[in-house]
């Protein structure tokens, strides 16, 4: 069984988690065009390499961020969503 580290609950079987897709900026619901909505809802960059994704530890309903390599499926890091802005400001 593959093990994933939940920032709240610690290392757990991957079967306790659900992936909620890549992290990307939300559109402005008041001003977004139809094309922008379509892009937001249906477009996936599908990058080969390390991406940031939303994941949930299902038993505790805890959402967090994971960095995963889409080629090797290796999970590089997991952290609280509250750390996302701090990390993005650094980079």
């Amino acid at each position: 069984m593959k093990i994933m580290n939940c920032p709240l609950n610690g290392p757990r079987n991957i079967s306790e988690f659900t992936c909620f897709g890549p992290v990307h900026d939300a559109v402005d619901a008041q001003s977004a065009s139809d094309a922008a909505w379509c892009h937001y809802l249906f477009y996936q960059e599908n990058k080969a390499g390390i991406i940031r994704e939303w994941w949930r530890h299902t038993p505790s309903n805890y959402y967090f961020i994971a960095e995963r390599h889409t080629v090797t499926d290796e999970i590089i890091a997991t952290y609280s969503a509250s750390e996302l802005s701090r990390i993005e400001n650094k980079s």
Partner: protein, 215 residues
């Protein structure tokens, strides 16, 4: 309250119907006890108590922590721990930054829990969390026995041995292929865990534990 209690049907629901007030008179007289692993040479039994019909209260969401602090209730630190609140005869389980489960320290004495709930319901402030209806949506079992950690290892991926998981620890994981919260309470003075899980799956949980015990 009586309507809700009578309407609950957990694995031993027919027995619940005998106590329509929802408040059993004592732990020994009315508590439903099921042996899932019988006593064997040198090893005590593993038993499951169905506590579903006892009172409990959950609040979660923004403002829940501040509301509890405003009532001088110390919050469990860190998340995934239980802290007794001696002044109110309650146990407070912290499941998230703003997610709490409140249990009575004495199962047959729900007055202190009802008082806290009444305080919360009558409080008019805008942000005080929301009622998560733990008494309605979660079944509540207690499983205990000297070898309970080894027994649960058949179906739970987390190491529950006493030396790894101290008293008042909380584990949010899976048991019997279902999401389940385990709280080590040792409430019978034996090594034991309170299990909280989807009440609609209570029959399945009990059947699974019995099958594991028979295997």
């Amino acid at each position: 309250m009586a309507v809700l209690a009578a309407g609950r049907r957990t694995p031993l629901g027919d027995l619940y119907a005998e106590h329509p007030d929802g408040v059993p008179s004592s732990i020994d007289a009315t508590l439903v006890r099921t042996t899932v692993v019988p006593e064997r040479s040198g090893e005590g039994p593993i038993e499951v108590l169905d506590l579903t019909r006892y009172a409990r209260f959950g609040i979660k969401g923004k403002g829940a922590s501040d509301w509890l602090r405003s009532k001088a209730i110390p919050l469990p630190e860190p998340v995934n721990t239980l802290a007794p609140v001696a002044s109110r005869k309650l146990d407070l389980v912290r499941l998230g930054a703003e997610d709490y489960l409140v249990l009575p320290q004495s199962l047959g004495e729900p007055a202190s829990l009802a008082a806290l709930r009444s305080e919360w319901e009558s409080d008019g402030r805008e942000r005080k969390g929301f009622n998560s209806w733990r008494e309605e949506v979660w079944a509540w079992f207690h499983i205990h026995g000297a070898n309970v950690a080894d027994f649960l290892a058949k179906t739970c991926p987390v190491d529950l041995n006493a030396d790894r998981l101290p008293l008042r620890s909380v584990v949010q994981t899976r048991v019997a292929q279902m999401d389940c919260i385990l709280v080590r309470t040792d409430r019978t003075n034996d090594h034991g865990f309170d299990l909280f899980f989807d009440v609609a799956s209570a029959n399945f949980m009990m059947s699974s534990l019995k099958e594991l015990g028979a295997a």
